[in-house]
Symmetry: C2
Subunit: 296 residues, 2 copies
């Protein structure tokens, strides 16, 4: 497979932090990581690895990688770090392949939105999982897909959750944290199970709710939808296939969050039926306190 | 009561469209209407009428009105149009008072978010309701309150729903539509009942959902809330007292929309439990079509 370089890298500092970073799956997130590494002069070389040449060509055209290949062995041969940024239901397989293909000194991370299933399966499949792989989840995204929408600032100021195993060497967890920090993100460390519970509430449930709200709106009233409807349903524009995978990977936690939410709705419903206005106002006030705590 | 003018009006065209417009209740919406009238040179004079001098002082300081008074009779004495922009549970009373105080040639409108209750009660109380009053609802707002947050462009490009009675003279409905169009809005005309049904789905339910979602999020996970949670819960930051009134005024339609929404959620819940992933993907796809139809 030919190795391509279409865009020269920006001038690198005398000592880039990483000699070589491989990104497996150069979509929106993978592409944004590549762009940030290149624009910040953090890597001697960023290699994009993908299944389809067309996507790799887009990534090259967008300046997200220095070179690109569909051959994993070739792409990962010189990597110090491999970032697996493929769809969540391919991640386990791709992490195992990346660990096998990269030098034994390299470490591997991923960007999947559900962590317990991924980290658990990798641990089952790889004897040295804890020494080679650390799960990550950048809390950043966009409802648009593809490397053509990648942005070097996608991670700037965002949080990346790093989910080491209990047996992960401290030095490796630290290395993963430093990688994301170098890209402008701040890092929170928690167990894969804890991550999934938290993200079910803060990300997966909001997606489900936004979609249910959009789908339940009678189409004839859509012309009257204003900014409130637009904000509340924005997440429904995301990729249905991708999100179905995330719900599948975090089924139990999503169901638990959904139960809690339906319970809250039913309280409001009963209060509405019974015209208990002061209770409704109290619930709205409690919600406002939560929302105001986040800001903007 | 002293009449104050702190800021000179911008140069008016030789023939302003309205000699005198009175605005009863100069908060965010009333203030924005005043600012737009003044900046577009549409009114010879914009008079702010309110209960509290402090709010009127803010409206004057912000340039939202030419003069301000707490005396309704004085403020409405020369009005061609009176816009009632007080909280929804004061609107009926204020519309009746405005009709009584303004010259018999003046017409009155309001900006309440629920229309059937308001228009119905005004019709019951005023013999000539259809000749003097037309309900309106500008689909524009902000989670912030007060004239200090008013903006001349709040209505620009937005929709205003005008809700005439069946017996409203065509000329009056037309006059109301032209008023909002002059402020940069586009106008949709429907019955008060139809309006409430539509807005329950496109505005009132989203508010309830955003609040329930914010309130059901475990506070310990809030630090992991990113843009998805922020968008989906944004409406929860709105004024709880104001929204309790809106839910009270549109109880039946809100409950109907809420039923439809809970039904949708339960379908997703059952599909999640049964791991029917292709059904979930279909529902997400249907939601995406609705959301994409709106744009951004």
């Amino acid at each position: 497979m030919p190795v391509k370089t279409r865009f020269p890298a920006p001038p690198t500092p005398l000592m880039p932090t990483y000699r070589n970073v491989a990104i497996l799956g150069v979509g929106l997130i993978g592409g944004s990581i590549g762009l940030a590494l290149r624009q910040r002069g953090l890597a001697g070389e960023v290699v994009g690895i993908g299944r389809r040449q067309a996507s790799l060509d887009k990534a090259l055209a967008h300046g997200a990688v220095d070179r690109a290949t569909t051959d994993l062995a070739e792409g990962a041969a010189a990597a110090e770090v491999v970032v697996v940024a493929t769809p969540v239901d391919s991640v386990v397989e791709d992490v195992c392949r990346a660990v096998a293909a990269a030098p034994s000194t390299a470490w591997v991370t991923d960007v999947g939105s559900a962590k317990a299933a991924i980290c658990g399966q990798v641990e089952t499949r790889l004897a040295d999982a804890a020494k080679r792989f650390v799960g990550s989840h950048p809390l950043a995204g966009d409802h648009r897909c593809g490397p053509e929408n990648a942005s070097a600032s996608l991670l700037t100021g965002k949080t990346v959750v790093v989910t080491p195993y209990e047996t992960t060497p401290t030095a490796l967890a630290k290395r993963a944290a430093e990688f994301w920090q170098a890209l402008g993100a701040s890092v929170t460390t928690m167990s894969p199970a804890q991550h999934d519970q938290a993200l079910a509430a803060t990300s997966h449930l909001p997606h489900l709710v936004a979609s249910a709200l959009a789908a339940s709106t009678p189409v004839e009233w859509l012309p009257l939808a204003a900014s409130g409807w637009a904000d509340t349903t924005r997440l429904a524009a995301a990729d249905p296939a991708l999100w179905t995978q995330i719900f599948a990977q975090n089924q139990a936690d999503v169901l638990e969050s959904l139960d809690r939410f339906i319970e809250q709705l039913k309280q409001l419903q009963t209060a509405l039926v019974d015209q208990r206005w002061s209770q409704i106002q109290d619930q709205l006030q409690q919600a406002k306190r939560m929302r105001d705590a986040l800001g903007n």
